[in-house]
Symmetry: C2
Subunit: 87 residues, 2 copies
């Protein structure tokens, strides 16, 4: 399925979350990733993310779509940052 | 149409963007909003957002879906922040 992931984590955990997201998905904005995952990949991705989250503070949103319903994405403003712009 | 909006703006412009987003959409995560907009509302929302963006730095992603394809949202980790948690 196609997923869009937005994370809101404390700064000290951003590098770990970023590394996990990059392993599974494409980077489209500072804290936004997208890509196609199988059910198994999504489970592994979720387990990896949850292993580093502080459940009392961090929050990750995962929007999922059937393959035929990939959303249209518009970007307003500056070009998407290069991965090197990321904290 | 249904939209999901994620903004990545410099801190000094966050309050303005937040105010505009709240006028049109529901707040679901620190910098993530969702809701149904007509084409006219989307145009007005875009004009309002672009009037405060610094186009050399700020970036706003807008995912749009036909009404029949509203995405499934999963939240991992902490509960979504209250609007008062926002900078």
């Amino acid at each position: 399925m196609y997923v869009v992931v937005v994370y809101d984590t404390a700064a000290e955990r951003n590098p770990k979350i970023l590394r996990i997201c990059r392993k599974y998905l494409h980077h489209v904005q500072r804290s936004v990733f997208e890509g196609n995952l199988t059910d198994g990949q999504l489970r592994r991705f979720q387990a990896a993310v949850e292993s580093v989250l502080d459940l009392s503070y961090d929050n990750v949103l995962v929007y999922s779509f059937p393959p035929a319903a990939v959303p249209v994405r518009h970007a307003w403003g500056a070009a998407e940052p290069e991965p090197t712009d990321i904290i």
